[in-house]
Amino acid sequence: MAGMSGRMSVVIKSKINKLLDRAEDPSETLEYSYQKQMELLQNVKKGIADVVTSKKRLQLQQQKLEQQVVKLDTQARQALAQNREDLARTALERKQFAQTELQSLDQQVAELEAQQAQLIDKEQKLRSKLEQFRTKKEVIKAQYSAAEAQVKISEAATGVGEEMADVGLAMQRAQDKTEAMRARAGAMEELEAAGAFDDNLQLGSGGDDIDRQLHELTSQSAVDDDLAKMKAELGQGSAPSPALEEGAPAADQPQQSPGGQA
């Protein structure tokens, strides 16, 4: 048998044979082998926990991106309302990019979830096989001569060893995939930190130029809204719209200011 899978079974066999050669008492070998496998089972549990942690990190990244998409959409609308089509276009371009990343992330998280379920399933199976091995070793100890026991142990240990190696392989593949995804998510984070889609619109906090301009528009329009609200409260005309705040109406009607009426 060629290839990795072939090598895998060869490695298992040689390890087990070495183990069996070392011990003279088969029952001692059985105990040792069982203990060793229980230890490995703990590693499997730890490996699964690592996959879960990585998945959670990716999901956080997903949530961030989702928020980003909503924010960029809002920014685009705001920019458009201010007749800043250039800014709206930039925001929409970033939204597209974030959405594409989100889609691939969604797919990867789904894959990871399937792998995680498979790993949990395999861990369960391994546990059953170890239990089987434990039962078998008691039978072997009680019923067989040393020479026969050696052969029986070798068979059982190879079977359970192969299962163990296979869980290890499944875990390794899940971890490799998770690592690749995390590296990608990390690159996304770096982009974010560099301001490509900055989450923080406060001035002077590292936002890039377009974020700043969008922020200015946002705050400008918020000021306009406040002004309009204030004017309405002071009983100045009906529904003053920010669009009319061009300076000209104020010049035409100087007597309407509260100060002038006092």
């Binding site: 899978s5 089987q132 079977g159 192969e162 499944a170």
Partner: protein
Amino acid sequence: MIVRIATEDQYRLPDEDAERLNALDNDAVAAVEADDEDRFHAIFEEMLQLVRTDGHRLGEDELEESDVIIPPPDLSFSEAHHEFNGEGLIPD
């Protein structure tokens, strides 16, 4: 014959399937050597399906060594180069 699909499960297959499996194994090696990715994936998929449909999953109480270990179903083409070379998974 006991066949394991790596990262998946172990199956017990009728001995007649050995020949069919070996033929697919050789085809897979040929596809890899010809650098024909699509063809490789088609053959590999056929191999997996043969085992899954013709085989019976081993019970959780069976501790058996596999006669053949087929690589993980999500094997990439570049990984396939390390698996399907020479005599393939099954020595001729």
